[in-house]
Symmetry: C2
Subunit: 257 residues, 2 copies
């Protein structure tokens, strides 16, 4: 397998000859999380004709780094660059064959590399909801945000992949900060708490949360209060850029470390 | 690709026809950690003729779960069953081609699936050193334990894979207990501390460690002391089986959670 060209393939060509350009048996899937109206959301694609939903994914060119493939896919669905993307798991159930799940190649194609078994590597991304312009690909009818609790039955093992992404994100909360790509630049403590609560899927004690999150030493309290609320206006915070990036590299050093 | 048979292939057949039985472009690599003489060790294979060292890995049968492939490889190198195996990362650099690193198929084979690019999924295992009987495979000269700090230059990106396994293990110390498969059934607090220190690669404060590790509520102090030391004999501990397993499933709930 030589250096791959990156041609524009028609759907027919993609099914019939894609294996000459992409690696066979291995794909990526992106779980793209956004936060809006105090609600964690995930970006899904709707397949043409079938009206079945799936995670946006893609294939890896023969000379492409797997992470580049994930970034390329993310960019083509959201329009966004420079997004925090985290590989979380490779899914290798032998049942991962499209034909076993009623997904056939287009009419006229007997044999396709896409009908064989694929192992897929999952990445999750945290994006600023307001900046995304969801864009379907050539195989899909639509691309839209779904509330995490309202996600329908997805194709293949995509519900399982989503669940695992959420678990990984939850575990990562212990090790890495979260919020910079999900919240506006200035935010209140209740907004940050609500983000953690929606990721963890449970309520947190207000005092305890504030104490622990401030102890991470990644926040800066501004001399500004949020306008427009009925109650006493809460202070605004922002992330300390330098400390946040350091924590993203070195981890938060909770617990035993 | 139909249901795969699991034939015994000669080396020649493996290079020439392995792609009829195994998935192409995707492999697994196992980082097998053991603990002995207060030292973290890793199990490595030495390739025949080249005297170059590598991680023990393997390929995935067409109808085999990727995790089964990792377990099968682990068992064939160590003789061990029921080992804690943790997937930690998929390595997808386009440079991962054996031929780019001076590893050619045996004489007489012009084209082999093994010369193409492979993405590999890394697993790490924690095993009880004393129970392992290291066993080379048909391609390797020897299989032996190396001190973590003395590992030589490995083939392909295997040094990087090892480093990433160690990082994952370190991060996991915050989320999951460690020790049950690495220590004898009864152990002292200094022995447990030394295990954490060797994984983390740094010294820990004795009082702080003891306080934090006891707070996890997974240890049981026995009414027994270690025999034979010159100083005051330290108490022996063992893991509370039920609590340990619960923590392995649910995580340790450090930090914000």
């Amino acid at each position: 397998m030589g250096k791959a060209k990156r041609p524009k393939l028609s759907t027919h060509e993609f099914f019939e000859k894609g294996h000459l350009h992409y690696l066979t048996h291995i794909s990526i899937d992106n779980v793209i999380f956004g936060f809006h109206d105090n609600q964690l959301k995930v970006l899904l694609l709707e397949w043409k004709e079938t009206h079945r939903w799936c995670l946006p994914g893609g294939f890896i060119f023969a000379d492409e780094h797997i992470e580049e493939a994930a970034i390329r896919s993310l960019k083509s669905r959201t329009g966004l660059d420079n997004i925090y993307l985290q590989q979380f798991y490779a899914f290798g159930d032998p049942n991962r064959e499209r034909t076993k799940h009623g997904i056939s190649p287009p009419a006229g194609i007997k044999k396709s590399w896409l009908s064989e078994r694929f192992i897929t590597v999952g990445y999750y991304a945290l994006v600023e909801f307001s900046k995304v312009v969801p864009k379907p690909d050539e195989f899909s009818e639509s691309c839209q945000w779904w509330d995490i609790e309202k996600v329908p039955t997805l194709i293949l093992d995509h519900n399982h992949i989503l669940e695992k992404a959420l678990q990984s994100l939850r575990l990562n909360l212990n090790d890495y900060p979260v919020g910079k790509d999900l919240l506006p630049q200035k935010f209140t403590m209740p907004e940050l708490q609500r983000l953690y609560e929606t990721i963890l899927g449970k309520q947190l004690d207000r005092r305890n949360f504030q104490k622990k999150i401030l102890a991470l030493d990644i926040l800066e309290r501004l001399n500004e209060r949020k306008q427009g609320g009925a109650h006493k206006a809460p202070f605004l915070y922002k992330f300390d850029q330098r400390k946040y990036e350091k924590a993203m590299k070195q981890g938060l050093k909770f617990g035993l470390q």
